[in-house]
Subunit: 345 residues, 2 copies
DNA sequence: TTGAAAGCGCTAACAG
DNA sequence: CTGTTAGCGCTTTCAA
């Protein structure tokens, strides 16, 4: 028994079937019939032949010929993370609208993997690259960018960078969020830190420090704990605070994950939120309103991050010009819910 | 001022730089030096030239030549939906491990868009296609599959289908979940339905019906309400139940989204869960434990769904054989939390 | 041990 | 109005 061949039909076959040359077939199928004044009869014949054979032009061959692949590379640390998934989605939609396809890669939070994947994408001749970078250096990306491949960084960026970057206004968001605490009279604030050295982490921390200072409070270095955007890091840090610094009355998780860890630790140690401990966090999720204690949060506009990045890329591909403006900030929205109680003294 | 050209160097240039022919260069760079007994000297020369020019072979040209693109097409209804994001991730990881790249497409829950995207992917000569299908027919996919393109369906499938499908054991999961209700004495159970006609929806409904019947209860058709896997559908259905059938003591949301709508409606109408109304749902998410009322749920093994699908695809590509087993079931795990109260009579 | 040449499928310049 | 030809970048016969 033989299965139907899945070898796609070629233009040559279509041409043969229609009794014309390949060039005529090509012209008839790419809407150039008018321009070349192809007779109605042949045009139809070609189209019917194509139809009958289920002809789909090979984008591979077209790419080679035209030196344009219509491919966008997207690299994120974890596709399953809702934050990156949302970004990937916006890019994908924008890409599809503009006739591009998305090559998706998952760097698993590893800088080496990221480099490797970027190399592969490059060998596939992507026309632009969008990365939510991992690690603390962007040299390999800057190189590509300098070589003429449009690169856009999303979320994490690099201070020294000449690469176009789209990120939230972390500092201002963090400051506003912190004000919720100072207003409520909190003076002993613990921070559940994420990956030190990354732009979001460092800017958020700076925002918190600044807001505290405005309220006449100096952030105690011992009150900054943790080194990863992960649940376990948040858990460990919270636990450490509870055990060693019971004087702390409020916690700020520098990511959703960190705060999730805080929630677990608090539950485990019998600390009620917000009665025993206030908790603030970054980013949001659909069930936020229905948490036992709805968390007040500084929420990034993920969709806008994605959209902006996509439009910068598309714009750049179309115009061929590298924009002068490198750093793009998207506002952060503070949503006040019920996870801050007045500080007791 | 002129930016560095981003035109990638070609094998021809490398060959020229090394003072050899393209064929020699090719052989030296593809590890065929031994086989062709190329002299150490030339091999090194070629490699150095390649290094110096930053040569990356064009995967486009290789694809055309070899008729193998190493591309996997993935189509999901919504990349930002955690469920599909998780599936996409597993596929992506598996693909990367096996030397494939993933072309990601988002069908936006539209059957037409899906068809269109699949066409584009096909024209890019993907070697296999993984779809979380939308809509009620899979003819266009079955066609491709019959034509020899390995197609795997995930999540939703089709009863009549000859396409390899990976999905959860919805029926059993639903039945087990329902038993939580019958055991607690509930007899008036409302169902927040999703998209009618889809396999997950229909099988879950069947599972519920069956479990109720085992408890001597016939599911009242009026108690099945809703027509979409969406928050608003869940909200509307719940609202309708509250207004028209206050005798209902428990609700089962056929998706996370549906239940989220139920949560909103319940809050709005002052119904406490589970005291006034028990609520069960499908699927889970990280914050589940910290909801005001932790929902008991039938939880799909999303990672396993993705992994299984990926391995079926990879296996099939490598072997070239279409498997005889079409339908693959992944067990569902019921997690009991605190959203069911004993029924009052 | 190496090179020349053909060809993957397509488009476009050139030639009728 | 249509066909012939060259070439995108690569691999692989075939020939030396």
């Amino acid at each position: 028994m033989k299965t139907t061949s899945h070898i796609p039909s070629t233009l040559k076959e279509v041409a043969a079937a229609a009794g014309v040359s390949v060039s005529t077939a090509s012209r008839a199928l790419t809407g150039k019939a008018k321009r070349y004044r192809i007779s109605q009869a042949t045009e139809q014949a070609v189209q019917q032949a194509a139809q009958r054979l289920g002809f789909q032009p090979s984008h591979v061959a077209q790419s080679l010929r035209s030196q344009r692949t219509g491919l966008l590379g997207v690299v994120v640390p974890d596709v399953a993370n809702p934050f990156f998934a949302a970004i990937a989605r916006e890019i994908t939609l924008a890409a599809e609208e503009n006739g591009f396809s998305v090559l998706l890669a998952d760097s698993r939070d590893s800088s080496d993997t990221e480099k490797c994947l970027v190399g592969q994408l490059w060998s596939r001749r992507i026309e632009a690259l969008l990365v939510c970078p991992v690690g603390l250096s962007s040299d390999h990306l800057a190189e590509l960018d300098a070589a003429g491949l449009p690169v856009v960084l999303v979320d994490r960026g690099f201070s020294d960078s000449r690469i176009v970057t789209v990120t939230s206004d972390h500092r201002r968001g963090a400051a506003e969020l912190t004000r919720l605490l100072t207003t409520a009279g909190h003076r002993q604030v613990g921070v559940l830190q994420g990956l030190v050295g990354t732009l979001p982490n460092d800017e958020r921390l700076a925002g918190i420090r600044q807001a505290l200072r405005s309220a006449g409070i100096e952030l105690d270095p011992r009150f900054v704990r943790g080194d990863q955007f992960s649940e376990s890091a948040g858990y460990e840090a919270t636990r450490w605070f509870i055990e060693h610094h019971p004087e702390i009355t409020a916690l700020i998780g520098l990511s959703n994950q960190n705060s999730l860890g805080a929630l677990r630790a608090a539950a485990e140690f019998g600390r009620r939120i917000p009665d025993d401990l206030s908790l603030l966090t970054f980013d949001d999720h659909p069930f936020a309103d229905f948490l036992a204690t709805p968390l007040s949060t500084a929420c990034q506009d993920v969709a806008e991050l994605g959209r902006l990045a996509a439009s910068l890329i598309v714009e750049r591909i179309k115009s061929g010009k590298r924009p002068r403006k490198k750093l793009h900030r998207v506002p952060v929205q503070v949503i006040e819910r019920a996870s801050v109680a007045p500080a007791k003294h």
